[in-house]
């Protein structure tokens, strides 16, 4: 069986300016994918191309086994059976909630349409709100209406463009989880665009990191965090620092503060260990573990209290700065030295860029 969505070396742009180049991406039926990247990276352009709003410069897009976009041919959006949730929701201000949700069901009879509208409103937790006007709803409710409207025609693929960015941070997290559950329950295939990592981690089966028009990595959230494909992904996702080090022949790494074993965990296939020589090693806050018994110590430069934990900025031997996330009852003063240990179960190293 073919994938629900497949992008093959897709390039996009306007006139002479290429925004996205040679992008490959596959989404299986029932999966939730997420394109994550800084603003201006082209992620919304990709979404609009999948929806049929942007023609391709090169490549091909397949939806449920059919080619919907290729050079010189763009199936119009209205013929694609895609649903889209917009950043500003784009609810029709002249239609009530019922009219909005039923907009895509115009081929059905009135009674059948009303039944479906009621059903989808119940699914998104707005049962009985048919007669309300969009402007009478809160942002979160408008979001739900937009979702119901996009899902009602039962599209092959749901596209969400920064769907939670206009909401309060607290509401954003809870709604993101709720929407993810709902989509999984209904077996919907969805692609989300966001610049919020929390949102991406909360919702997606696969995350794609887009930067400067290129897909840097397309992998499950765990791999994105722990096995970043390149220094950009490593820096963009999560917290951490890159430390100049030296890869030794047998696989251990010589760090400025000491030698670290390469680790027991095997690297994924797409992460070949860099050859011996100068490398950069990613140190996540969870790689630097506070241990009073450790012979190694580091000096506390800064601390940020985060409730359950404290994020320490430490200066290790050799002048290296690193972050450490420590349970907050380990409260140390700035300037004091604390014992640390480098978690050695996996080391993420990149060949150092030639000077």
């Amino acid at each position: 069986m073919s994938s629900q969505l497949e992008l093959r070396s897709v390039s996009l742009g306007y006139r002479e300016r290429t925004v996205v180049s040679a992008l490959d991406l596959t989404l299986e039926r029932g999966d939730i994918g997420c394109l994550l990247g800084p603003s201006g990276c082209g992620k919304t352009t990709v979404l609009r191309a999948i929806a049929g709003f942007e023609p391709l410069l090169a490549g091909e897009i397949q939806l449920a086994g059919h080619c919907v976009s290729r050079v010189g041919h763009t199936l119009p959006p209205e013929a694609r059976r895609i649903g889209m949730v917009f950043q500003d929701y784009a609810l029709f201000p002249h239609l009530r909630v019922g009219g909005n949700v039923g907009f895509g069901l115009h081929r059905l009879s009135d009674s059948e349409r009303a039944r479906r509208v009621a059903f989808w409103l119940e699914v998104v937790g707005l049962a009985g709100m048919e007669a309300a006007w969009p402007h009478e709803l809160s942002g979160g409710q408008q979001q739900r209406v937009a979702l119901a409207r996009a899902l009602a025609p039962e599209p092959e693929l749901l596209l969400l463009d920064e769907p939670f960015s206009n909401l309060d941070p607290e509401l954003r997290d809870s709604l993101a989880r709720e929407v993810a559950d709902l989509l999984r329950e209904r077996g919907a295939t969805a692609l989300l665009v966001t610049h919020d990592q929390g949102e991406a981690f909360a919702m997606a089966d696969h995350i794609g990191i887009l930067e400067a028009g290129r897909l840097q990595q397309w992998a499950p959230p765990y791999d994105i965090y722990h096995w970043p494909a390149n220094p950009f992904v490593a820096g963009f996702i999560g917290e951490g620092v890159m430390v100049d080090a030296h890869m030794l022949a047998q696989g251990d790494v010589q760090m400025p503060f000491g030698r670290v074993a390469a680790g027991s965990m095997p690297a994924p296939d797409d992460h070949p260990r860099p050859p011996a020589g100068p490398v950069q090693v990613l140190l996540r806050p969870d790689d630097v573990i506070h241990d009073d018994d450790s012979p190694h110590t580091a000096r506390v430069l800064r601390k940020a209290f985060r409730g359950a934990q404290i994020l320490y900025t430490l200066e290790l031997d050799g002048g290296v700065q690193a972050l450490a996330l420590v349970p907050s009852h380990h409260d140390h003063a700035i300037g004091s030295r604390i014992g640390i240990r480098i978690a050695a179960d996996h080391v993420v190293a990149f060949a150092a860029a030639p000077p």
Binding site: K43, A58, P77, R81, F86, D88, P93, G104, G139, Q217
Partner: protein, 566 residues
């Protein structure tokens, strides 16, 4: 590792001939349409400008010696008086209403706009009728004080300036009130906290902050004063507009009229450019939404003075003239003559036809700007809506000359004998050129509310272009289209110089009836058609009032429409 290969410059420049070809062709078509409309509207003005050079030297001498000095002097004096008058009245009343609470303040807040419903030429003849030597006021004064009592002559430049001031101050008042309200209390509080008295804060903070609005309001006043024809003809003050009319219909010299018109046109261009710049700049001055001022509560004498000030403007500008019109019209209302009835029907018909044409054209322009948002289309729209700065008398001459040219050229080219000059087509064309800006404003505003994401949403829900137009665009645009149509309808019904000069022979409208009756001093007979115009003139005020209310900060009226540009 897919995706992290070095960027390949070759791939970035993949040639693609077919990409978006249909989209770009459609954009091109819209651009051509916008340019065509602009060319059509601007044609009469261009034809007029070409007439500057080829003047009869004898006529030119006559113009320079006898007409221009007097006309220029009158116009400059009139402009100065009206600008000073409307500036003082407009800002003063706006400040009073915006910053203080006093008895009747809420009523005055919108009632002070009522004089807009009164065409200036109606107030003019009411003033002359009331204050002239034979009028009731002077007769009464003579009765009390003796036969030698004289008021200064009403039919003077000062009299015309007073009437225009009372009619036009609402422009300044409205814009300044919006500016003062928009500033909120914050700026004034900041000024007071820095040690300024209330009076100092007005002169050094509030007034400078509202400068763009004040300037925009005064510019509208200048435009209207330059364009005024009816008032100055009632007062027998010769300005450019009346000189154009007299040269054409008195001396039967279209050449002289065109000469004068092209001069006035140049002034109009300067004003239009200035106005656009001011409007662009005004955007930088608005500092977002801030807390509206509650206003200081006045009491006792000061409250009485505030109410009295508002009343002392509203009485002569609206209440007294309206009462006088009613008094004049009452006896004659029993027998409405068929001429007036016919004129009323014609006015309504003409206004409706013009409104439909203007709104249709404005809609096309708005779609052109939406579908092809480039510099060319923007420029075309600006040029097409230039007519509002061009006095009606000028446009009338321009349209007449341009259509005369077309009537000579077109039959020769097409082989069909047709004439547009002197038909209803000519007058409607002139109306569209003059009032396209009036209709374009609301239509553009309505269009800007339909974010592109609404279109995208409709498409993603399977709606084709027809369904998008019928189910999304038209329902959303309908209120704006109606507003635009109403505004144009009212403006056309009140319009005097274009109607007078380009109407088909004997085709009288209400405004023309009023002009003819008042030029013979028949105030009573002119009262009823005037009342009809005042009644229709109230319509845009009601719309304006509703608009201001709708613009009040209501939470989340529409989801913020952000451009989709990640």
């Amino acid at each position: 590792m897919p995706g992290i290969a070095e960027p390949q410059p070759g791939a970035l420049l993949t040639p693609d001939v077919s990409r978006g070809a249909s989209g770009e062709r459609r954009q091109g078509l819209w651009q051509v349409l916008a340019l065509f409309i602009a060319a059509l509207v601007v044609a009469p003005l261009v034809v007029l400008l070409t007439r500057i050079g080829d003047a009869d030297p004898e006529l030119l001498q006559h113009l320079q010696d006898h007409v221009l000095p007097q006309v220029t002097g009158n116009t400059v004096l009139l402009l100065t008086l009206v600008v000073v008058g409307t500036g003082a009245l407009g800002t003063g009343l706006a400040w009073l209403v915006s910053r203080y609470r006093f008895p009747g303040r809420d009523l005055f807040s919108w009632a002070l706009l009522l004089p807009m419903a009164l065409p200036a030429y109606v107030l003019a003849f009411v003033a002359v009728g009331l204050l002239d030597f034979a009028g009731p006021l002077q007769t009464a004064l003579r009765g009390v004080l003796g036969a030698d009592v004289r008021l200064p002559p009403v039919r003077s430049t000062a009299g015309a300036a007073l009437v225009l001031t009372l009619c036009l101050y609402p422009y300044v008042y409205l814009l300044c009130r919006n500016a003062f309200d928009g500033q909120g209390q914050r700026a004034m509080e900041a000024a007071r906290s820095l040690g300024l008295t209330r009076r100092q804060a007005f002169w050094r903070v509030a007034l400078p902050m509202s400068r763009p609005w004040l300037a925009a309001g005064l510019l509208l006043v200048v435009m209207e004063t330059l364009a005024d024809f009816g008032t100055v003809s009632v007062f027998n003050v010769d300005t450019f507009t009346t000189a154009i009319y007299k040269s054409w219909f008195g001396l039967f010299s279209l050449g002289t009229a065109a000469q004068l018109a092209s001069l006035l046109l140049l002034i109009g261009f300067v004003i239009a450019v200035t106005e656009h710049r001011l409007r662009d700049r005004a955007g930088y001055w608005s500092s977002g939404r801030s807390r509206a001022s509650e206003g200081e509560r006045l009491s006792g004498l000061r409250a009485g003075l505030a109410s009295g000030a508002c009343l002392s403007v509203l009485l002569p500008a609206f209440v007294v003239p309206l009462a006088q019109l009613l008094a004049w019209a009452w006896p004659s209302s029993a027998g409405i003559d068929t001429t007036s009835l016919q004129a009323a029907l014609r006015t309504l018909g003409l206004g409706t036809a013009a409104a439909v044409l203007v709104v249709g054209t404005a809609l096309l322009l708005a779609y052109a700007r939406r579908e092809s948002p480039g510099r060319v289309t923007r420029l075309a729209t600006r040029v097409a809506t230039l007519g509002y700065a061009i006095p009606g008398a000028v446009l009338a001459v321009g349209v007449f000359v341009a259509l005369g040219l077309a009537d000579r050229l077109l039959p020769a080219i097409t082989g069909i004998d047709w004439r547009i000059g002197g038909t209803l087509v000519a007058i409607l064309f002139a109306y569209v050129a003059r009032f396209l800006a009036v209709g374009s404003g609301p239509v553009e505003a309505g269009m800007s509310r339909i974010g592109h994401s609404l279109d995208d949403a409709a498409r993603s829900l399977g709606a084709n272009s027809r369904r998008r137009l019928l189910r999304v665009h038209l329902p959303l645009l309908a209120p704006s289209l109606l507003t635009a149509a109403a505004l144009v309808l009212v403006d056309v019904m009140k319009e005097m110089p274009i109607t007078l000069m380009t109407r088909p022979f004997g085709w009288d409208t209400l405004a023309v009836r009023i002009f003819e009756l008042t030029s013979e001093g028949q105030w009573e007979a002119a009262a009823l058609p005037s009342l009809a115009l005042v009644a229709t003139g109230l319509l845009p005020l009601i719309l304006l009032d509703r608009q201001t209310r709708a613009a009040m900060p209501t939470p989340a009226r529409e989801p913020a429409v952000k451009a989709i540009a990640t």
